[in-house]
Amino acid sequence: MQRYSGFGLVKHALSHHENWQRQWRNPTPKKEYDVIIVGGGGHGLATAYYLAKEHGITNVAVIEKGWLGGGNTARNTTIVRSNYLWDESAALYEHAMKLWEGLSQDINYNVMFSQRGVLNLGHTLQDMRDIQRRVNANRLNGIDSEVLDARGVQELVPIMDCSKNARYPVMGASWQPRAGVARHDAVAWGYARGADSLGVDLLQNTEVTGFKILDGRVVGVHTNRGDIGAKTVGCVTAGNSGVMAKMAGFQLPLESHPLQALVSEPLKPILDTVVMSNHVHGYISQSDKGDLVIGAGIDGYNGYGQRGSYPTVEHTLQAIVEMFPMFSRVRMNRQWGGIVDTCPDACPILSRTPVKGLYFNCGWGTGGFKATPGSGHVFAWSLAKGQMHKLAAPFSIDRFRTGALIDEHGAAGVAH
């Protein structure tokens, strides 16, 4: 693999940038792999990368029905934070945050991780109580988090309407300075390039159509390019996880919903942090090329159509204009939907399944992007060792039968 560097950029400039190496191969599937990862999004590619890098397991294939990072990795609003309430989820997301902080160097790929901070606004007394509780919990878990009052918020974001005349006046916020945004596509591409250089086969346009199961143990997958054998299979298919589980013969506690997002026309730099409001119900940041990146809640119905309804878009923009009246005349450029697999307790599933050797990493719902490195890291460990990593263990499917739920609805950016 050609290493990327400033020197390399200068060197390639001399040959008009015509000799850059391809970032990854396009290999022919082998008959059998040690591990197959189903789903070539950020989480799947990260899993493959860490399997190869940290556990020396390089006979690995990532099987993707479309193109790499073309699902929710390409459709999210790129926010990264770790200010979750409960110990189990705080540990998992903070693990991811620490990996984010060294990620560009680790995978030699600029993921443009920008720790510009995230504000979670409070508009009612109850909001502020919940924020104080969450900030205290964060600090006990070693996560940077502060409570700001309305004046503190106004100082950070002068363009926001923090006056008492607002319909839902800003009373304060929680503030995580280490949080921020990252370049979503670069995360998938960086992990893909890293995994490929360590020998992982990335099989695009290959759709898994079923699992080969022998005596309750997975031995491979059926695909539209023939059967491929595997000792271990990790399924990381986000919105389609319910469909994959059905192929393997069991149910998951998931519902797939469209989650919409939109970007505006590019503007000059105006917003240098991320603002989320659970109560007014929307979140916004500005990308490096100037677009306002906007999102809010899911469409409430089940859907796999990668699009949602216009009333949801309207509600989202109402919330943004409520917080930022100056954006009322900004024109929106593009709008889209991704299919998120939501869990009843708003926490992911990293788990063994009733089929031996088949593991699922799913249920990240509306907030999976921020966890990409941590999710891949602990899932790779679990696949390599054949037992769940201690950070992943509380997120077993069994919790929906034992009742040990991890209720993170309150720490979701907005209610869903």
């Binding site: 389609n240 319910g242 469909v243 059905k246 149910q251 998951l252 506690p253 998931l254 519902e255 797939s256 409430g300 119905y301 089940n302 859907g303 796999y304 159509g305 699009r307 949602g308 309804s309 216009y310 009333p311 009843p344 929906f400 039968r401 034992t402 009742g403």
Partner: protein
Amino acid sequence: MFHIYCPYCEEHREEEEFHPKGQAHIARPADPDACSDAEWGDYLFFRDNPRGIHHELWVHAVGCRKFFNITRHTVTYAILETYRMGEQPTITAESLASGEKAGNVQAASGGQQTVGASDAAVASVKGAQA
């Protein structure tokens, strides 16, 4: 935007009057005290979540406030029928599969997605209404 036929109001109304409430026809265990944790967990949390025909519960929240059922396709979003509580769907994944072979799908007008629907979805709804 869905345009949904409420089987109680007997009118098509806009999506914003309604709220989706998830999978329909989930039977509450007859004797909850006798359920194992696994059975109770299955009842509370585990769902079909199909890619295709889905029977789901909706409420006409700012209309008649009654619950009713919709049979809808979760990829095209086409609404195939709406029916009252206590009734059973006339269109199911199985009936549609066998009906398609016979080439005579006749679906009731349950409503449609008027904006944002793909041409194929609109065509399939129009076909169903014809």
